[in-house]
C-alpha cells in the first residue's frame, strides 16, 4: 500500500513537508512537542540524520517516533555513516515498521561536524542508495540475493537549483530520477525567477518537486547563509527587508517572507509543494503556513 505521503504526491494537491530534528541524547521532549504540533498540519515530516554531521538521536528512531505519534515520517538517510549492509538493514527495519518515505542524501563531510576524526563511509552515493531502495522493493538485496518478505518505499533525493556551476548538479539530478527517485526536495530557493527557470527545465521529468524554504530569522543569519551554505543565495532585497524589521520583529518578518514565497509557489503552481526548513524554530511552521494561506 502506498504511503500517505506518496498518495499526497500523487493526488496533485500542494504538498507541504517540514523537518524535525532529534536532539543529542535520549530526552525526546522537544522533538515530541514538534511532532505533536505539526503532524496534522503537514503531509509529512523529514527526520534529519545527524544533521551537519553532528551526532544525535538517530533519524530512524525519530521517524519511528513520528509514526508512533500518528504522523507521516520521511526518513532522511545519508551515505556518510553506514556501508551498504547497514543501509539496507536499516531500510528493511524502516519498511517493517511502516516507514516508507526515504530521502537519500550524500551527507555532509564528517569534518563539518562534532566527531571530526571519525571514518567517513560513503560506500554508496545518493543515486546508488535510491537504486538500492528500488532493488529492495523488487525483492532483492544489492548482492542479488532474494529477500524473505517484501519492502515498500517512496524514495526521494535533493537538488540545489542555485548551485554554481549548475550543470554538474543537473546531470546528477537526472541520474537520481533515473535511479528511481519519486520526489525531489530542493535546497533553499529565494529567487523565484531563478527557481521558475529551474522548474521550466525540471518539469520534463517524472518526479514531484518540493521547493525548499528556509525560514530567515535575521539579516545576519541570511548573510551567514550566503557566505557559508553552499548553493543558498538570499537576494539583497530580502536581506534589506529583514534588516528593516523593527527590533524583535525579525522572525515575524522571516515568517512573512516565507509565507509570501510559499503563497506564490502555490498560486502560480511553480512546483508541486514546499519543504519548510525552520531550523530550530519548528514551532513557527504553523504560522508560516497560515501566512502562506494554506488551509489547516
Amino acid at each position: 500500500m502506498p504511503s500517505a505521503f506518496k498518495k499526497a504526491l500523487k493526488s496533485g494537491k500542494f504538498v507541504v513537508t517540514c523537518e524535525v530534528a532529534p536532539g543529542k541524547g535520549t530526552n525526546l521532549e522537544k522533538v515530541r512537542h514538534h511532532i505533536e504540533l505539526l503532524k496534522d498540519k503537514v503531509d509529512a515530516m523529514n527526520v534529519t540524520d545527524h544533521q551537519s554531521s553532528v551526532m544525535r538521536f538517530p533519524s530512524l528512531g525519530g521517524a519511528l517516533l513520528v509514526k508512533e505519534m500518528g504522523g507521516e515520517p520521511i526518513l532522511q538517510m545519508t551515505c556518510r555513516d553506514r556501508n551498504r549492509l547497514a543501509l539496507q538493514a536499516d531500510l528493511l527495519f524502516a519498511s517493517s515498521r511502516g516507514i516508507h518515505n526515504v530521502l537519500c542524501l550524500t551527507g555532509d563531510s564528517v569534518m563539518l561536524g562534532d566527531h571530526k576524526e571519525a571514518k567517513a563511509v560513503f560506500d554508496l552515493d545518493s543515486c546508488q542508495l535510491v537504486a538500492a531502495i528500488r532493488g529492495l522493493e523488487a525483492g532483492k538485496d544489492m548482492a542479488g540475493n532474494e529477500l524473505d518478505g517484501g519492502a515498500a518505499f517512496c524514495p526521494g533525493a535533493i537538488v540545489t537549483p542555485e548551485a554554481n556551476p549548475i550543470e554538474p548538479q543537473l546531470i546528477k539530478f537526472e541520474k537520481k530520477i533515473d535511479a528511481g527517485a519519486e520526489f525531489i526536495q530542493t535546497q533553499a530557493v529565494y529567487d523565484m525567477d531563478n527557481f521558475k527557470r529551474f522548474m521550466d527545465y525540471a518539469r520534463q521529468f517524472p518526479v514531484k518537486i518540493l521547493a525548499g524554504v528556509i525560514l530567515l530569522t535575521s539579516a545576519p543569519m541570511a548573510r551567514f547563509m550566503n557566505k557559508n551554505v553552499a548553493g543558498v543565495t538570499v537576494p539583497q532585497n530580502l536581506i534589506d527587508e529583514m534588516a528593516a524589521a523593527p527590533k524583535g520583529g525579525a522572525i515575524a518578518k522571516g515568517i512573512e517572507i516565507a509565507g509570501r514565497m510559499i503563497r506564490q509557489i502555490n498560486e502560480e503552481k511553480i512546483c508541486d509543494g514546499v519543504h519548510i526548513m525552520a531550523i530550530g524554530k519548528e514551532e513557527r511552521v504553523p504560522e508560516i503556513m497560515e501566512s502562506a494561506g494554506l488551509a489547516q
Binding site: S109, P168, K175, A230
Partner: protein, 217 residues
C-alpha cells in the same frame, strides 16, 4: 614524478614516543622528504639541535639517499657503532622508509613524520593526491580525473550538495572534483560519460593489504 608527502609530528608526540630513550640516532632521506623539507639535511640538523637541547644524546645522524630502497641497510652499515649505542632510531622519512629501516636494522623505530599521501607534483612545489590505488579504475569514464581520490567523499556519480563555486565544502582551496570532471568532459564533448550511472564501487579491487609477486619466465 610521484612523491611520498609527509608532515612533521608535533614536538609533544615525538617527546612522548621517545620517552625512556635517552640515546637516539636520527635518519633522514635524500628523496621525497628532502624535496618537501621534512627530512633532509637541514631538518635532520635542526632535529638534532632541538633534541640535544632537550637532554637527549644523539649518537649520530645521517641522510640516506633513498630510505625505502632495499640497499638502505647496506648504506647504514658504516654507522654500526652509533646505531648500536642508540636506544631508538628517530626516522625522518615517510612510513615506507621507516618500515624498511625497521625491518633491516631490528631496532626500535620512532617516526618523526606522518605520511599523508602519495602525491603527484602538479605545479612547482605543489602536490596533489590524484590516485588512491583502489584497484578498480574508473577514470576511463571521467575524463582522466579520478573522483575516488579527488572528491573528498569519493563520489562516483556526480557532485554532492556541498560544492560551491567549483570548490569543495571542506576547503575553498580544494577544487571540486566533479566541477573539474564536468569541465574536462564538456571540453571534450563527452558529457555522455558523466551521465552514465556508476554502480556501487567494488571495494575489493585488491583486498588489504595489497600483495603482488612478479611471475612468468
Amino acid at each position: 614524478m610521484i612523491r611520498s608527502i609527509t608532515r612533521p609530528k608535533t614536538d609533544d608526540e615525538i617527546e612522548r614516543l621517545t620517552e625512556g630513550s635517552g640515546r637516539l640516532f636520527i635518519i633522514g632521506c635524500g628523496t621525497c622528504v628532502t624535496l618537501t623539507h621534512t627530512g633532509g639535511e637541514p631538518e635532520v640538523a635542526a632535529m638534532k639541535e632541538r633534541l640535544s637541547a632537550g637532554g637527549k644524546v644523539i649518537t649520530g645522524t645521517t641522510v640516506v639517499p633513498v630510505a625505502c630502497d632495499n640497499l638502505t641497510g647496506e648504506m647504514l652499515k658504516e654507522f654500526r657503532a652509533p646505531l648500536q649505542q642508540a636506544e631508538a632510531l628517530l626516522i625522518m622519512t615517510c612510513a615506507y622508509g621507516v618500515q624498511t629501516i625497521a625491518r633491516q636494522l631490528k631496532k626500535f623505530v620512532v617516526p618523526a613524520l606522518d605520511t599523508l599521501f602519495i602525491g603527484k607534483e602538479t605545479g612547482f612545489g605543489e602536490f596533489n593526491e590524484i590516485c588512491r590505488q583502489c584497484g578498480t579504475c574508473i577514470i576511463g569514464e571521467t575524463g582522466g580525473i579520478c573522483p575516488v581520490s579527488t572528491c573528498h567523499k569519493g563520489l562516483v556519480n556526480g557532485p554532492c550538495g556541498g560544492t560551491n563555486n567549483g570548490k569543495c565544502e571542506i576547503d575553498p582551496d580544494k577544487d571540486c572534483a566533479w566541477t573539474l570532471i564536468y569541465n574536462r568532459l564538456n571540453e571534450l564533448g563527452r558529457l555522455d560519460a558523466m551521465r552514465h550511472y556508476q554502480k556501487p564501487r567494488n571495494h575489493l579491487g585488491e583486498p588489504n593489504p595489497g600483495k603482488f609477486r612478479i611471475t612468468g619466465d
